[in-house]
């Protein structure tokens, strides 16, 4: 747990970077520091591990005043990842990840094992990458190593300053989603600095929205979106908050679960009748174990043909845990009116329709309650 109490930072030249910031970040939560540049988000973050000295106020790490903890000890127990990554180019990937464990005096074998596990966690094959040098990696791979390094000595807290900021948008979205999955497993207390509201909404359990060194609103992403505290927040969120809400919802919360399905052995007549009865334009074809096999569209139905000949087996599918915005984007680009949704084991779980998305967004805007 991290608690900030009336934190102020005044630089020697008189600039007030942070003014009277107070809030607390709960154990295991990912808290996003969001705001335009110069709002004090990075300064606030760096005061937590004392890279920047506090002018006045107190920061408590698990209840202990952080100025009472030895500076290097404090930092070794808080993972640190930055936008520029700052990998040590003269060391291998493995050596980079092992730095903090080495500083903490872990044995060589323990360190190596930890590095291998972390590479695996970051979906980099340890055998292939552990002895490579940073100059041999792509931008996305470097970011992954940067995050792995921050997790090196298994700290309970992480400070991440735009950790996915320096890569192309596609890789960034991928890394965000992967990191969210990882966070569900590792449950670290994380401070995540960004100026990108989409990233904030997608990543954050809570968002601390800052402006000119002051905390404007500290709330869940939903409340920031739908219950902005003042005009600044509203302006920062933008007029398209309903669209941004797409980031907040997961496919499984919106999809129609247990929709009608068909089996490959069924006849065209039976399927046509079922489509009419259920009022749908397409049916998912599933196997005995509810494995997704393919999709049949009403326009494909022709008498005398077997289902397995008219269905499209390579139909686009999406996973249940994906963010709604990504699924919607796939629907728009593929032209599917009903997107089949599958689980991790490729079992058919449901379909996502435009109607369902519209309804969910409308409900969100209308009824999201203030916590």
């Amino acid at each position: 747990m991290i608690r900030l109490e009336n934190i102020t930072k005044v630089y020697p030249d008189g600039t007030e970077a942070v003014r009277g910031m107070s809030f607390k970040v709960n154990e295991g939560e990912l808290c996003v520091f969001l705001g335009p540049s110069g709002c004090g988000k990075t300064t606030t973050m760096k005061m937590i591990n004392r890279l920047i000295p506090i002018t006045s106020g107190k920061i408590y790490i698990d209840g202990v005043d952080n100025t009472k903890i030895d500076e290097t000890e404090l930092r070794r127990n808080i993972g640190y990842a930055i936008q520029e990554i700052g990998l040590f180019t003269h060391m291998t990937v493995g050596e980079n990840i092992e730095i903090v464990p080495a500083l903490k005096g872990w044995s060589k074998a323990e360190r190596r094992e930890r590095a291998e596990n972390l590479l695996e966690l970051m979906r980099l094959n340890p055998g292939e990458f552990i002895d490579k040098y940073p100059s041999e990696l792509s931008g996305g791979q470097r970011q992954r190593v940067g995050v792995a390094r921050a997790l090196g000595a298994d700290p309970s807290m992480l400070l991440m300053d735009e950790p996915f900021g320096a890569i192309d948008p596609i890789t960034r979205v991928e890394l965000q989603s992967e990191f969210l999955k990882i966070q569900q497993k590792i449950k670290k207390t994380i401070i995540f600095v960004t100026h990108d509201i989409y990233e904030a909404i997608k990543m954050g359990d809570r968002i601390a929205l800052m402006k000119e060194g002051k905390l404007v609103q500290y709330d869940t992403p939903a409340n920031i979106l739908y219950h902005p505290k003042d005009e600044f927040v509203e302006g920062f969120v933008g007029a398209d908050r309903a669209l941004k809400g797409l980031q907040l919802l997961r496919v499984k919360e919106v999809m129609t679960s247990s929709p009608p399905v068909a089996q490959a052995e069924e006849t065209v007549e039976v399927i046509r009748e079922r489509m009419e009865r259920e009022g749908v334009d397409s049916l998912a074809i599933v196997g005995n174990d509810r494995k997704f096999i393919g999709l049949v569209d009403v326009s494909d139905l022709r008498d005398g043909k077997a289902v397995k000949d008219i269905m499209s087996p390579s139909a686009t599918t999406f996973t249940v845990n994906a963010v709604l915005s990504e699924a919607l984007s796939v629907m728009l680009s593929s032209g599917l009116k009903a997107l089949p949704i599958v689980g991790e084991d490729s079992k058919f779980e449901g379909v996502l329709t435009f109607d369902a998305i519209q309804k969910a967004l409308h409900e969100a805007v209308e009824t999201k309650e203030l916590k």
């Binding site: 930092r75 640190y80 500083l103 100059s135």
Partner: protein, 246 residues
């Protein structure tokens, strides 16, 4: 690669030239120097270069590093200024001026090898200091920031991060300095030093071009060999990560 071939050919020619002149034995009324003489003078030459460069490293690397530390950045203009001035005075002038200086505590100038070494050191300091300073200053700030954020102490950052990253450039400075010093050391004989300059100057005073070459050729060969040696050390010591190009 091409450069190496050229250097090897040059090295061969200089060694060959030395052997040829030495084997002539008699130049009119003068005798050429013997292999024994050349060996002795080469040793003296190396000895002066070794001490001059060693002192230049001992002072240049720490000083170049020190002035990149935040607390000492004020020292950058005076330090680089003084060293630059040292470099802009002709080597012959420095050596000559040094010989006229009196004793300072344990260090006596005048006509002796010490004077030559100090003069050579002053002349060899600049490349080492300038390269150390540039190498340290050009380290990516994000790297230092990451290291600090991970809980490395200043000393650990210097030893494990900054120095290994700066080392190739520092060694390059040492190489330049060594090659310059080997050349300048020819003049050391003027102030009581020894070395291959003895042969060259004998040739100058006796107006024997071949004698001049008998001193100059091994000096050139020495500069090339030392340069080679240091390049190899540089390659060997450079962390592989800094050599790999993506």
């Amino acid at each position: 690669m091409k450069r190496q071939v050229v250097l090897i050919v040059l090295l061969g020619s200089f060694v060959g030239l030395t052997i040829w002149i030495t084997s002539i034995g008699q130049l009119g009324i003068y005798r050429t120097f013997t292999y024994g003489d050349i060996l002795t003078y080469t040793k003296d030459h190396l000895w002066m270069v070794f001490w001059a460069v060693l002192i230049a490293i001992a002072i240049g690397v720490p000083l170049g590093t020190l002035i990149t530390r935040p607390r000492f950045t004020k020292l950058i203009p005076p330090v680089l200024g003084v060293v630059n001035i040292g470099q802009s005075i002709p080597s012959l002038a420095i050596i000559a001026i040094m010989a006229t200086l009196p004793c300072f505590w344990f260090l006596c100038f005048g006509f002796n090898p010490q004077t030559a070494i100090v003069a050579l050191f002053i002349y060899g300091l600049l490349p080492i200091l300038r390269n150390s300073y540039a190498a340290m200053r050009n380290i990516d700030l994000a790297v230092i920031e990451a290291a600090r954020g991970m809980g490395m102490t200043r000393r650990q950052i210097l030893r494990k991060i900054e120095f290994p990253l700066a080392r190739p450039v520092i060694i390059a400075g040492i190489r330049i300095s060594t090659v310059i010093t080997v050349g300048t050391a020819e003049l050391a004989v003027l102030v009581g030093g020894k070395g291959l300059g003895t042969i060259t100057l004998t040739g100058v005073f006796t107006r024997q071009p071949l004698l001049i070459l008998q001193g100059a050729a091994p000096t050139a060969a020495l500069a090339i060999s030392l340069g080679f040696m240091i390049v190899s050390i540089e390659r060997w010591m450079t962390p592989r990560g800094l050599k790999v190009k993506a």
